[in-house]
Amino acid sequence: MPQLVPFYFVNEITFTFIILAITVYILSKYILPRFVRLFLSRTFISKLLG
């Protein structure tokens, strides 16, 4: 099983965490705030229209 070869295993772990970290960063910095902003504008407009 190649998964149990130590170098391969360490490589898997490393890249998993790097990708997770990058995903979390991009989501929290760029993607999710866009949604929050969109929702806030929607509520603002619906408040304007009464």
Partner: protein, 173 residues
Amino acid sequence: MAARSAALKVDWAKITTSLGLRGQTVAGLQAFKKRNDDVRRKVQQLSELPTTVDFAHYRSVLKNQAVVDEIEKRFTAFKPATYDVSRQLKAIDVFEAEAVKNAEATKQKVDLELKDLEKTLANIESARPFEELTVDEVAAAEPSIDEKTAKLVSKGRWSVPGYKEKFGDLSVL
């Protein structure tokens, strides 16, 4: 007389209509006009009356010459009292200048306000419907959206309070 000619020049009917006066002001103006007309009529009537006295006639008619002499003496000595109205005229001029200045200032203010209102009206008329707006445009018009976003994000909250109740969500759970 300068004052009388100025009063004659005033077009009373035009004042009320062109200035759009109402209520108490119109009543006051009409009262003032009436007073002016009355006084003018009175002055005309009085100025038409003879101002000379035929003392020779009285002297020949009356026995008591001393009385006639006395009255003639008094009559020739009489001088109508003159009033110095220049101070009042000056005060009126100052008041008029002040009023004109105030009116100009008010006009300027009103013009500015009018311009602002016209701008607002043009803005309203040229406004696009909400469907055509982008989030960026809405956020530019209402800066509190960006502030609120930053606040919610910094707290780590990704949902907007009150949004789900209003718009629902697609969550199956």
